[in-house]
Amino acid sequence: MSDPDTKTATRVLPCAGAKASVGQMFLEFPVVGISSFGGVVPYLRASLVTKQHWIDDKELVGMLSISQSLPGLNATNMAILEGDKLCGALGSLTAIVGVCLPDALIMAAVAVFYRHHGDRALVSAGLKGVAAAAVGLLLHQSVFRTLIVLGILAILFQHPRRRENVNL
């Protein structure tokens, strides 16, 4: 099956029957990796569902719930699943390297900077607040996740038999 949608110039290694090529993925996933401040998953959606139309929302939700029940980080698990869907094993490899690489480089730069300047009063003053704010972020995630779990349990408890009829 050939894809009529070939407006993008990068058609390196096109994947059989898929909407994307490895070349396109290698350009798209690092963009997600580098722009995903405060969590990768919403940015993956913005990029892959909204912008590229490589997958739809229903597939994304399915991938997210699979990612959450497997060990490994949600974001990278999702990149693996999306990569596999788009382009098989090579797609998975491209996606995970793409998501991680920019970030690894940034953290390497942070490490070098922190090693040389980490004990300066100015840097520790800034980081003290950042660390406290990070605790706030984690508390928020915990509250949020508790509410979601309570909600799911409440729904299951109320309608144990009707689960098959519920359409997402």
Partner: protein, 176 residues
């Protein structure tokens, strides 16, 4: 050096298996292994690096690059990344391949529902570890609670909040 790289790889391969509840879930164990057992860095350094990774793009656990880089340089960082991401990547890939119909697999929902409360516990444990290192008085408690309340009330990118806090911090330091 070769020996240290092997230890790094082993530690982070192990930590990667604890991340079913998200990266924070591995934080308590990471503190024990990297700070207490192997003494690669101090607890405040770990807290600093982890919290920098929080607003930084991508997975927070990327701060392992910093730890590995300090211990053994470039090669150690690459080996550690592969050790951390390799096994779970392969596992996720194989599971996805084996279960093409995974979404309709009845066990998946059960596993997920069982894991959800566990992941909250892991998250809180990570949060507690972070708090022990980061909360040291009235000002830091106020920042943490403030960030929590703002996030509960408004839809705002958390990274902006963290950058804002850092800016206020630096300003108040500069004007002191």
């Amino acid at each position: 050096m070769m020996n240290q790289i092997q230890v790094l790889a082993r530690v982070f391969a192990y930590l990667s298996r604890l991340t079913a509840g998200g990266g924070v879930a591995a934080l308590p164990e990471m503190r024990i292994l990297t700070v207490e057992v192997h003494k690669w860095l101090t607890f405040p350094q770990l807290i600093h690096l982890y919290s920098v990774g929080q607003p930084a793009p991508g997975p927070n656990m990327m701060m392992m690059v910093a730890i590995a880089g300090w211990v053994g340089g470039f090669v150690a960082a690459v080996v550690t990344l592969i050790a951390f991401f390799g096994p779970t990547t392969l596992f996720t890939f194989l599971v996805a391949r084996l279960g093409k119909k995974l979404e309709n697999w009845p066990w998946r929902t059960s596993i997920q529902q069982g894991l959800a409360p566990v992941s909250i516990g892991l998250l809180l444990a990570g949060c507690f570890t972070m708090g022990k290192g980061a909360i040291s008085g009235l000002a830091t408690s106020a920042i943490a609670v403030g960030v929590l309340l703002i996030l509960l009330q408004y839809r705002i990118n958390p990274a902006l909040l963290v950058v804002g806090v850092a800016a206020v911090d630096l300003l108040s330091f500069a004007t002191k």
